[in-house]
Symmetry: C2
Subunit: 273 residues, 2 copies
């Protein structure tokens, strides 16, 4: 029995989709969620810079005595997962592999699309993972630089969002894909918009539920679960404005979020030093 919390981080509120599935699967565990709003979005930044941010946050979460870290951000996973696993002492779980696997299982036409940030697309990781599982798949990545800023804006459900989704979907429809990986943890927050644009015949693949399963299995195999009879608690940290985080978390994931703590970038840098 291990009472330490699980650490989860993202550039913003996107990782809450992963946290939600973790709470459904492991209601008895405690969680610390960190949103790096001060430096959002990660997508357009050089991968080396995102890697440095991820190292800082991983180190900071270790100082909070977590027992496992979930990188609930596809850009950070693409940029930094191997490095985090080498440098941190606790297990680190990312979000790309489960989606690649689910997409290869789901496709019938063997044409798979990817919608993701520029950083994730540039890393080429999804293509590698998909082709490692099925070298015969035709893979179509599309970078969606406008989506994370729109989803984190004051008007996430407006016409600008719908227009952007339609535009990014266009090349995938033209390519005749039957499966699309939503390769950013922010995207499931506007899942209904994607569903309406792609229609019933395209399978949309998300990582959150698969990632939660991976976390749960890892805890069990390592024997570091918490008492299954207890009720877990979760707390939130942001490098940006706590009140904005609180509002957005509530809106998107229907969490009655209480207080949100503030972490400074100096604290993160100090942890990684």
């Amino acid at each position: 029995m291990d009472p330490r919390p699980i650490g989860v981080f993202d550039s913003g509120v996107g990782g809450l989709t992963v946290l939600h599935e973790c709470l459904v699967t492991m209601p008895h565990e405690d969680f610390v969620y960190l949103g790096d709003h001060a430096r959002l979005p990660y997508g357009p930044r050089p991968l080396g810079e995102v890697r440095e941010f991820a190292r800082e946050i991983g180190s900071y979460l270790e100082t909070q005595d977590v027992k496992l870290i979930v990188v609930a951000c596809n850009t950070a996973t693409s940029a930094a997962l191997p490095r985090l696993q080498e440098e941190l002492t606790v297990p680190v779980i990312g979000v790309l592999t489960p989606e690649a696997h689910a997409a290869v299982q789901a496709t019938r036409s063997r044409r798979i699309g990817l919608l993701a940030t520029q950083g994730t697309v540039d890393s080429g990781r999804y293509g590698e993972l998909v082709h490692a599982l099925d070298a015969g798949v035709s893979f179509h990545p599309v970078a969606c630089p406008r989506l994370v800023p729109l989803i984190e804006s004051d008007d996430p459900y407006g016409e600008a969002t719908e227009r952007a989704v339609r535009e990014y979907a266009e090349p995938l429809k033209a390519a005749g894909v039957d499966t699309v990986i939503l390769g950013c943890t922010h995207y499931p927050l506007i899942r209904p918009v994607f569903q309406r644009v792609f229609g019933r015949d395209v399978t949309l693949v998300f990582s959150a539920e698969e990632t939660a399963r991976e976390v749960s299995e890892t805890l069990a195999r390592k024997g570091i679960e918490n008492d299954p009879a207890r009720e877990g608690v979760y707390r939130f940290l942001s490098t940006g404005d706590p009140e904005t985080f609180r509002e957005m978390g509530r809106r998107f994931l229907q969490f009655p979020i209480g207080k949100v703590g503030h972490v400074t970038l100096a604290q993160l840098e100090a942890a990684a030093a």
Copy 2:
């Protein structure tokens, strides 16, 4: 080819969950959605009164030249479906049968729970439908009078909602059900709350997707579909405050809802006269 729109109605915004699935399945069809906010909630009212409301709205939608009507409200379906089918000339589709079927298919323990409004529980329709499919199922209905008002309130994701869901879930957990019918179209609007309260091992059954499939098949069999190459439009009507409807629709279903029309109760009554 039939260019007429499809009519969809509910006491409030709950039926938007059904409309969303219809848009995913039939993006080329036009829709008219009517929310009867002036008389919400339907759940605590006598079934005879709800039946009268449903007749009025069905007749009004016929005056709008719809080609099919979806009763996207479990209370109204329980109270009025046979009557509407007898009195109206267009096909009428309700929301209970698909859920009962899905629940019987999903359960392994053959213990099924129902969360629904007082009216739906009192009608006994779900129990009849479930037992018609499997007379050996142990069926546990729970009336949830607080939920629709909370979901339509200013604070749908607050602690009061979570507390209410926990309280209504308690007898179902005690009965050891492995499948729960969310028997009100409002409830999927707070699906994450239900998921966290029931956890991964309980299957939650919703009607929206099954209902959309039923609508699509009915149009096809009757040969009254619209041109599949076109893009459909949808419009909204409310007997209550159009602005409130607009805000709630946007929040819950991520529709960039434009103008909402107002319909008076006198107009509804006149249509049924």
